[in-house]
Amino acid sequence: METTSVIDPIAQSGHGTEHAEHQHHHTETFISKYIFSLDHKTIGKQFLFLGMFWAVIGGLMSVIFRIQLGWPDETFPFMERLFAAWFTDGKLNPEAYYSLVTMHGTIMVFFVLTASLSGTFANVLIPLQIGARDMASPLMNAISFWLFFTAGVVMFSSIFLPTGAASAGWTIYPPLSALPQTSPGSGTGMTMWLIAMVIFIGSTLVGGLNYVSTVLNLRTRGMTMFRLPLTVWALFFTAIIGILSFPVLVSCCVLLLFDRGLGTSFYLSNIVIGGKALPYAGGSPILFQHLFWFLGHPEVYIVILPAMGMVSEVLAVQSRKPIFGYKAMIFSILGITILGFFVWAHHMYVTGMNPFIGSIFVLFTLLIAVPSAVKVFNWITTLWRGNIRVNPPTMFAVGFVSMFISGGLTGIWLGNATIDIQLHDTYFVVAHFHIVMGIAAFFGMYAGIYHWFPRMFGRMMNDTMGYIHFAITFIGAYLIFWPMHFLGLAGVPRRYYTFNEFAAFSQYANLNKVISITAIVVFLGQILFLINFIWSIFKGRKSPQNPWQANTLEWTSPIEGIHGNWHGEIPEVYRWPYDYSRDPNSDVDFIPQNVPLSEAEKKDYVHH
C-alpha cells in the first residue's frame, strides 16, 4: 500500500524535491489499487460507479410506479413475473407503491445526489484543483466510501423483506413511521431504513470533515482562498452544511428508533388504533418534523451547491470567458449556506404551527431567492459575448440554468405561506422540487461528468451520444414535470396511489399516461448515457493533456492519473482560475493558474 507520499508533509506542501514516483516501490495488488484504495481519484470513481448503480435502481422504481399512475386500471402480468412480491393479479399493491415512492426519494436524494454527487467531485476535484497530493486523510476518505457502501447494503436488503421496505415517504413522518401496526412498511423495513441512514450520515460526516480540512490546509503555494475555482468553493460550503446539519438527522433517527423499540414517547401522544388507546403521552409528531427539516432543508443545498459550482466552472471554461462576478458568486453561496439554516419550517406551514413563526420563515425563505437570482444573472452574463463551445458539458450546464430558473421561480410561490396553504403537498410541489433540485442537480452532475471524464479516465466521451442524451433528458424532463404544475393547481395531491377515486382528480388520466411514457423514454435515454460512459472508458478517443484548454490545476497533472498527482513539485499558483480571453491581442485564449504573471501583466494585473 503506497501512502507515504500522500501523508509526507514535505511532499504535501510542494517543497519536496523527491519525486513522488520514486516512492512507488510497493507492489500494488488489485485489491489495494481498485477496491480498498486510498487514492482520492479512485475513491471518487467508486462514489461515481456506486451512485450510478443507485440512480438506475431509483430510476427503475420511478418507472414502476409511473406505470401504476399512467395505467391504474390495467394489469401487467409480465411485471408480476418480474416483481412477484409487489403485484397482485397483475396490479401493483398500494403498499408496494408507497414503498417504491419512499425508496425512490431516499435513494435519489441521499444516495445519488448527496453521497455520489459530492463524493465523486469533491474527491476527484478538490486535491487536483487546489494542488494537493491527496486528501488530508486518505484513510478517512476510504472509510467514508465504505460506510456509504454499507448503508447501501442495509437499505438495499430492506427491499426484499416480506413486510416490504419503508413506506412512510422519504420524510418518514411519525406516527406512521413509528407504529408498525399502521403500515407493513413501518415494521423491519423502517428499522433498516433508520439504521442505514445513521451509517450513511457517518459516511457524510467523515467525508465532509476531510473535504473541509483539505481545502483549508493543503492548498499549494500561491493558492489563496480567492484563487480557488468555484467548484472548490461550492464543495467546501456543501461539506460545511453537511457537518452542521446531518448530526441533527442522527438524533432525529435515533429518537425514532427509541420510540419504535424502547416505548419512549418523543414523537407520540394520544394515539388510538383499532379502538384502543396506546400508552404514549406527551410526545410531539411536530418535533420530528422540526428535527427532520433542520437537516432536510439544508440538504437541498447540499444537493444543489456542488452542481452550481461545477456549472460555474464549465460555463466559464466552455465560453472562454471569466465567470462573471467571481466574488459575488462566492458570497451568494455563503448567503445561501447561512440563510439555508433558517428556512426549514417552510415545509411545515400547514402543520398548525403558530402563524407568527410561519411569518419569520416566509421572510427568510423568500430572501434566499436574492442570492439565487444573483447566481442566475451571473451565469447568463458569463455567456454574453462569450465564445461558447456548445458541446455536451455546455449543454448540460445551460440545461441546469434553465431548470434552476424554472424550479426556483416556483419556489417563490411555495415559500409564501399563504400560497402554500393551497399548494402544499400537491403535484405543484412535486414539479417544483424535481425541477429545481432533482433534475437541476442531475444536469449539474452530467455537466461535471462530461467535462471531467477525460480527467478521470484519460479518454473523451462520445459527443454525438452526448447530444442525444441531452435532448432526451432536457425535453423529457420538461414534458414530465412542467404539466405537474397544472395538476397541482387543479388540487391533485401527491402520494396518491390512483386518482380514480376522486372525480376532481381523475380528469388528467391521459396526461398521466403521457408523463409515464415520457418517464420511460427518459430512463432509456439514461441507459444511452451509461453505454457512452462505459464504452468511452475503454474505447473513447484518447484525451490530450488539457482537452478544454482550461486554467485550473487538475489539467496540469498527468492525464493518465498518477499516485500523488504530480511528478516532482506541485505547481505554484500565480493567478485566479478565470483568465480566459484576458489578452485580446493574444492567439491563446487562456492562461493557466500556474503561469507566472508576465512583465507586462505585472503593471496592471487586477485580481478579481
Binding site: 413522518y173 399502521t182 462576478g325 410561519g358 416566509v362 452574463t381 387543479a490
Partner: protein, 349 residues
C-alpha cells in the same frame, strides 16, 4: 413474446445509435484532430431550438390547461390566496420568459467561431448591485402581501361561526357537529372504547347534543370553525375547491376557520357539471389507503342548513343512552386526566 420483441428492437436501436455516434465523432476528429476547429454552429442551433421550443411549450400549455384548473374559490380565504397567486404568477412569468430567452439566445448568438474572441468581462459592481437590489425590493413586496393575507387567514374566528370537528383515522374522516348549544363535548383518548371511538366524555353536558354526520353540510356565507384532530397517524384536512389545508396531528389539536361563498348548486352551474360535489380529502400520507380517504361536502343556503341540522339526531340520545340503559355500554363515571391540564394541576397543589 411481444415483450421479447420489444426488448430486441430496443437493443437494436441502441446499437444503431452507438454506431452512428461513433462514426459521426470519428469524422469530426478526422477533420479537425484535437485542434479546436469546430465552429459549434450546428450544436448551437440544436441547443437554442430545443430551448425555445420548450419556452413556447411552457407558455402555450399555461393557456391550454387553464380551463382544467380549480374552479373559482369556494371560500373567501381562497380568494385571497388566488389574488396572491395571480400577482406572483405575473412577476415570475416575466422573469421566466426573459431569463430563459436570454439564456438560449446567448448560446446561439455567441457560439464559438475561430475568428472571434470572447470579451473579458469579469465584474461590474453597478450591474451586480442592480440585480441584487431589484429582486430584493420585488420580494419585499411579495413578502408583505403574503404576510398580510397569511395573518388575515389566521385571524381570530368570528363568534357566530358554525363549529364542527373533523377527526382523521386510517382511512376515514369522522365529522362531529357541536349541535344547538354551539359547544363540543370534551374528549380524552383514554376514554376510547369500541362504542366511543373518539373518547367523548358523556359526563360533559356539552356532549349531549353533539351529532355525527355522514357528510359535511355547511351554510353559505357563514364562517365555519373546524377543530381538527387525528387518532392514529398524521392526516391532513384538505378542501381543494376551498383552497384550504390543515394537518391533523395526534395529540395536538389544530384549527382553521373559513367562509364558504358558493353553494354546491351554484358551483354545479359554474362548472357546468350537474354531478359536481365538493370533497374533503386527506393530503398527508397516512398509509396504504391514503388515496381514498374522502368525505362529501355540501354547501347549502342557511334555510336548508337549519332544516338539515334539526333533522340530525344527537349521538348520545340515539346510541349511547339506549346502550347504557340496557347495560351494553360502560360509562366512565369520573372524567379523568384530560380535563386536568398542567396549569390546573399546579393550581390544585
Amino acid at each position: 413474446m411481444s415483450i421479447l420483441l420489444g426488448l430486441l428492437t430496443l437493443v437494436l436501436l441502441y446499437i444503431v445509435i452507438v454506431q452512428i455516434s461513433k462514426a459521426s465523432d470519428l469524422i469530426k476528429t478526422l477533420r479537425s484532430g484535437d485542434k479546436q476547429e469546430e465552429s459549434f454552429g450546428n450544436s448551437a442551433v440544436f441547443l437554442s431550438v430545443i430551448g425555445f421550443a420548450i419556452l413556447v411549450y411552457s407558455i402555450v400549455t399555461c393557456f391550454t390547461y387553464a380551463h382544467t384548473l380549480l374552479p373559482p374559490s369556494a371560500s373567501e380565504q381562497g380568494e385571497w390566496i388566488q389574488w396572491l397567486i395571480d400577482i406572483t404568477l405575473v412577476l415570475t412569468a416575466i422573469v421566466f420568459v426573459i431569463t430563459q430567452a436570454l439564456l438560449f439566445w446567448f448560446v446561439y448568438k455567441y457560439h464559438y467561431r475561430k475568428d472571434r474572441k470572447a470579451y473579458f468581462f469579469a465584474d461590474n459592481n453597478k450591474l451586480e448591485a442592480a440585480w441584487t437590489v431589484v429582486p430584493a425590493i420585488v420580494l419585499t413586496f411579495l413578502i408583505g402581501f403574503g404576510l398580510q393575507k397569511w395573518f388575515k387567514i389566521y385571524s381570530p374566528t368570528p363568534k357566530d361561526a358554525v363549529l364542527i370537528e373533523a377527526t382523521g383515522k386510517q382511512f376515514l374522516w369522522t365529522i362531529r357537529y357541536a349541535g344547538l348549544d354551539h359547544a363540543l363535548g370534551n374528549r380524552d383518548f383514554t376514554l376510547v372504547n369500541g362504542d366511543n371511538e373518539l373518547g367523548i366524555n358523556w359526563n360533559d353536558p356539552a356532549s349531549r347534543d353533539d351529532f355525527m354526520a355522514d357528510e359535511i353540510v355547511l351554510p353559505v356565507n357563514k364562517p365555519v370553525s373546524v377543530n381538527i384532530g387525528a387518532l392514529d397517524v398524521l392526516h391532513d384536512f384538505y378542501l381543494p375547491e376551498f383552497r384550504l389545508m390543515m394537518d391533523a396531528v395526534p395529540g395536538i389539536p389544530t384549527h382553521i376557520w373559513f367562509r364558504p361563498i358558493i353553494t354546491t348548486e351554484q358551483m354545479r352551474k359554474i362548472t357546468k357539471n350537474p354531478k359536481f360535489d365538493y370533497v374533503l380529502a386527506c393530503n398527508k400520507l397516512c398509509g396504504s389507503g391514503h388515496y381514498n380517504m374522502q368525505k362529501k361536502v355540501r354547501i347549502v343556503t342557511q334555510e336548508e342548513f337549519n332544516t338539515w341540522e334539526k333533522s340530525q339526531k344527537s349521538y348520545y340520545e340515539t346510541v349511547v343512552k339506549p346502550a347504557m340503559d340496557n347495560g351494553t355500554y360502560k360509562q366512565v363515571e369520573v372524567a379523568p386526566l384530560q380535563s386536568t391540564t398542567v396549569a390546573e394541576m399546579a393550581k390544585k397543589k
